[in-house]
């Protein structure tokens, strides 16, 4: 993916400007066309990519700007998921989704359309790309299950759909895919099931895999509180290459779990609090990376924000990414024995 030590990346979403929110709402209320909205998305994504490049981010994303929220974009594409009402008061609201019969076999159906999104991003940046999608456990949590005797089977069927899509993404050139499980922290007892489903998603897809688990970020608020020890040891069985976690808001005590369990996957280290508009300094970022370096080898760390930047104003998001990049660069230079750049 990238040979850079302590590479910087994003979790996925980027600042959603107020005018884009209004355009999304206008679309849901029938005031603008799908064509116009798509043109707006294309323009916004190009700008988001440019921001990340200007900030010096090594691995960029499309900012997930086409997605109303972390769930619906996928649910409305999976055949067999019923969405009785497509009108929304707030574009960011979740659809009321239901499944009344087992989902049809993914192999027999066209994909979810994520490949087009990836290709558009590929066209507009030369940097490595992270492409993310919601994980099967979280998607299933937003579906009223009336079609499966065991809800576990719904989770696994969704995983099969995502696996089908991941294969197509890999074929289209995707090299880093990320599975987001924003609801898992609220259901600690479900970690084994979530891991089983993740392993179905990644099966046979030869890319670098990241798994992101946070404490929720709807409307820039945590949905749960707690500690990451609920993930261990079950998470050790996940066939992923990175575990992307939230620390900047919660503190770094849980980093010791990586010392205790010595997992084979890298740590995606959250160093930017996405729930606060206060911009971190590069020194703060460097200190946060240092906390992780005390227990994790630098080659095993990827530097990223705690979660998506969706709720931050654009200028704040950009400033935070700049600080993240500068902080990571300073630690990188120090670890390599090179001159440490001065913070500005």
């Amino acid at each position: 993916m990238t040979e850079t030590l302590l590479p910087t990346t994003v979790v996925g979403s980027y600042s959603v400007p107020e005018w884009l929110e209004r355009a999304k709402s206008d679309f849901h209320e029938g005031r603008i066309s799908r064509t116009s909205l798509n043109e707006i998305y294309d323009t916004a994504i190009k700008a988001a990519l440019k921001d990340q490049e200007v900030a010096g981010i090594d691995i960029v994303s499309d900012g997930e700007l086409r997605r109303d929220n972390d769930i619906d974009y996928f649910l409305e594409r999976i055949p067999g998921i019923e969405l009785p009402r497509l009108a929304k008061v707030h574009y960011y609201d979740y659809f009321d989704a239901a499944v009344r019969a087992p989902l049809p076999c993914a192999d027999d159906l066209p994909g979810l359309g994520l490949v087009r999104d990836f290709q558009f991003t590929r066209e507009w940046t030369d940097r490595p790309i992270k492409f993310s999608f919601a994980g099967p456990f979280s998607l299933a949590k937003r579906i009223r299950n009336e079609g499966y005797a065991q809800s576990e089977d719904l989770v696994l069927d969704i995983a099969r759909y995502l696996n089908h899509e991941a294969r197509e993404l890999a074929a289209a050139g995707a090299a880093l895919l990320q599975i987001d499980e924003p609801f898992l922290a609220g259901y600690p007892e479900a970690v084994p099931l979530a891991v089983k489903a993740v392993n179905l998603v990644v099966e046979g897809v030869d890319v670098e895999w990241a798994l992101h688990i946070c404490y929720g970020n709807r409307h820039a608020r945590p949905a749960w509180e707690g500690h990451y020890d609920f993930l261990f040891p079950a998470i050790m069985d996940a066939h992923v290459d990175q575990l992307v976690l939230e620390f900047a808001r919660k503190g770094y005590d849980d980093v010791v779990l990586f010392k205790k369990y010595r997992p084979s996957f890298k740590l995606g280290l959250g160093v930017i609090d996405v729930k606060s508009e206060t911009v971190e300094t590069a020194e703060q970022v460097a200190a946060r990376v240092d906390r992780a370096l005390a227990v994790v080898d630098p080659a095993q760390i990827v530097v990223n924000p705690d979660c998506g930047l969706r709720y931050l104003p654009e200028h704040v998001a950009l400033a935070k990414l700049r600080a993240m990049n500068a902080g990571a660069a300073a630690v990188r230079a120090r670890v390599r024995g090179e001159p440490v750049p001065q913070f500005r």
Binding site: Y92, H219, R221, P222, A223, W224
Partner: protein, 486 residues
């Protein structure tokens, strides 16, 4: 000409029809003698239910564009006082028209948006110096509330909220996700009755159920008035190990209570939002206007007030400004000949307050994104409300919006904000009744725009719902609840 009759329900009763005919007849007769362009005239009839308000029975309000050119003229009539023993509509109308040429009012401030008016300085002074005000009136402020008491005393309401809170905590405890300390916050504690009833009920339920949540409970009481906090603290002395008090500005609670971010399970707010500064904006003929106001003293009362203290009416603006800046005690110290003690200064304050009026005009509203709605909140949030509801004039509840938005981050992911207040929950309500400002003792009261709060909460992921206060029949009070959606 456009005639808008707002209190339609009230006018259906009694002699409403005759009243309207009489008032409109008088107005038409009066304007017929003037060189007014009838095509540009709006007549708006309200029923101002407050015993004391800032309005005279007839007011003339120019509707101006950006360069102060009069686009229209609005004649505002308070039907309740238009034809009573004390007022003659013909005389009131003639006075209002005469003021267009030469005003006999003593203005205390220049034109400004209503949130910047000195009525809010009076309001703040009332809560700061409440102890002195009560000493002079000889009655606690709660007696000024309609019905003579707050709904905060209601134990059934407390039991309802506590029962729901226990259910939430039970669920979290099952998942070992219940924090050690359980924070509850009350903003605007009044005299502490709510806190006492709530805590007594809490303890009772805790003993009944054996949950042992009381041991972990901490109830924080916040208020702008140090005097009220002292009174409230005395009320809950038997819960002193579980209570604290803190002086706070209700429009920015996070400034004081940032340590409670994401930790508060229950926030209770009663009759606070209706007492916070608000602007009014209006849509007239499809265009947006802001209501600007300037406070004044009518000539008659101004002369009487001035004479009482050996001053001239021209001295009053300066004396009022000093009263608001210094408070009654220091004013008395600096003007001992006029005010031989703090109580004399309070009596001056009361007379000025009773006579205080607000003159109004409409000016073009700046683009909504440039309208300073509340800290960190763009006026754009008002656009859907203003665009979807035709011509209307409404409060935007700036202070309530600021307070509400700044309180939401304090809530735990499973927390609930409950608010008892007078809400307008449908914008149509602004076309059918007078929603303020009125005067309650020394404070200002306006109905709160529930639609604005619902829109703000919705954008922040909260479901905001309204229901009539269930525990006292015939109450104007509405219960607003905000909790995380999904």
């Amino acid at each position: 000409m456009l005639v808008e009759l707002r209190p339609t329900e009230r006018l259906r009763k009694g002699n409403g029809k005759a009243l309207v005919q009489s008032v409109l007849g008088s107005i038409l007769h009066a304007v017929g003698d003037e060189t007014l362009d009838l095509e540009k005239l709006r007549i708006v009839c309200d029923w101002v239910q407050y015993k004391n308000s800032f309005r005279e029975p007839v007011e003339i309000r120019p509707i101006l564009n950006g360069s102060s050119v009069e686009l229209r003229l609005e004649i505002g009539v308070d039907l309740r006082r238009a034809t009573g023993e004390q007022h003659d509509i013909n005389v009131e109308m003639a006075r209002a028209l005469a003021r267009r040429d030469v005003s006999d009012r003593h203005y205390l401030e220049p034109w400004s948006r209503t949130t910047a008016s000195l009525i809010w300085s009076f309001n703040a002074l009332y809560w700061k110096a409440l102890g002195l005000w009560e000493a002079v009136t000889g009655r606690p402020y709660e007696q000024a509330l309609p019905g003579g008491e707050s709904d905060a005393r209601n134990a059934a309401g407390a039991r309802d909220s506590i029962t729901r809170l226990f259910a939430t905590w039970d669920g979290l405890a099952e998942r070992r996700a219940l924090p050690d300390q359980l924070h509850v916050l009350e903003i605007g504690v009044g005299n502490g009755n709510q806190a006492r009833v709530w805590l007594d009920t809490f303890l009772e339920i805790d003993r009944e159920t054996g949950r042992d949540y009381y041991r972990r409970l901490h109830y924080l009481m916040g208020d702008y008035s140090p005097h009220l906090l002292d009174v409230a603290r005395a009320q809950v002395r038997h819960h002193e190990d579980h209570t604290s008090t803190i002086v706070l500005d209700a429009t920015k609670p996070s400034n004081t209570l940032g340590f409670l971010k994401y930790k508060t399970f229950f926030v209770y707010i009663s009759n606070v939002y209706d007492n916070l500064p608000t602007d009014e904006i209006a849509r007239i003929d499809g265009h947006l206007f802001q209501v600007e106001t300037r406070a004044f003293l009518p000539a008659g009362p101004a002369a009487a007030i001035a004479e009482d203290i050996g001053a001239s009416p021209e001295d009053l603006p300066d004396l009022v400004a000093r009263l608001l800046r210094l408070g009654p005690e220091l004013l008395a110290e600096t003007e001992p000949r006029r005010f031989p003690g703090a109580h004399a200064a309070v009596r001056f304050w009361m007379k000025v307050w009773e006579a205080l009026g607000l003159e109004e005009r409409y000016v073009a509203l700046p683009p909504l994104d440039e309208y300073q709605f509340a800290p960190g909140i763009s006026g754009e949030v008002l656009r859907p409300l203003m665009e979807a509801n035709g011509d209307l004039r409404m409060h935007v509840s700036n202070g309530a919006a600021a307070s509400f938005v700044d309180t939401l981050p304090l809530l735990h992911p499973h927390g609930v904000l409950e608010c008892h207040d007078i809400f307008v929950t449908s914008l149509a309500g602004y076309g059918t009744g007078f929603r303020g400002p009125g005067k309650y003792e020394g404070s200002v009261v306006n109905w709160v725009n529930g639609n604005v709060l619902a829109a703000l909460g919705g954008r922040r992921g909260f479901d905001v719902t309204f229901r009539s206060f269930a525990f006292r029949a015939g109450s104007n009070i509405t219960t607003m609840t905000a909790e995380v959606r999904e």
